[in-house]
Symmetry: C2
Subunit: 159 residues, 2 copies
Amino acid sequence: MSTVEEQFLARAIALATQNVYDGGGPFGALIVTPDGRAFEGANRVTANNDPTAHAEVMAIRNACSSLGTFDLTGCTLYTSCEPCPLCLAAALWARVDSISFAADRHDAAKAGFDDAVFYEFFEAPVAERSMQVRQMELPDSASAEPFRAWADLPDRIDY
Amino acid sequence: MSTVEEQFLARAIALATQNVYDGGGPFGALIVTPDGRAFEGANRVTANNDPTAHAEVMAIRNACSSLGTFDLTGCTLYTSCEPCPLCLAAALWARVDSISFAADRHDAAKAGFDDAVFYEFFEAPVAERSMQVRQMELPDSASAEPFRAWADLPDRIDY
């Protein structure tokens, strides 16, 4: 006898396994609304030529598109594997309430995926990072221009 | 007289400003290939009901879709504002070489965006986090099932 949460997580795992046979990566996820509606996603990175098409991102996009919103407040994200930094940040921006996962970043690493490596990137000193991320100084404080336009817009939609 | 890099960054800023008037957030970005082709993106979170439609993610998707690849090795990402954790992780997964940005996370915070807050989320102790992220123990090591299917797949495409 399993709980509702275990059933949602089992569904995420079943999606992940099926997705391997459908040409995607071994990851599946669901967004579940407070009233129990579920929106599914599976990893389509190589299938869609989209490095952001992780299972959690696909589930979030599916839920938002279906519900006509960019805000998933109150929803839970169930995922077959601990969200990588991309998916964790996507969940934060989507304002989901909580995340439940099955396998973790170390299981993903054993299967050949860089989730754990990329968490370490976030924690590494800037000088030791594998990818350079640098600020360029521009003349005339040009960098502030988009934010000035945003501040001046009377009917802007905040998020 | 501006460098090529400054010109790409100026283009990202121009995209960001124009995007405000086109119903999007104040962010723009470009992926530039080693041979100088540029693929643009702008923030469409509220316009597309997609919380992952950040400028950098849109530029990466655009470049990958146009080039027919999920791997942007050798490319540079230019963005009007420091990439948030979502966009930084997207750039890592896309394997871009480097990122150059204009405004930073603190400028974004002043304009009302949570980029800096979400960076702090990554650094916070788990117990102090605003969103719960937890592993559930499942019976029969079901969580390893998708990775077993993946390992057994003879023609899998690694990424």
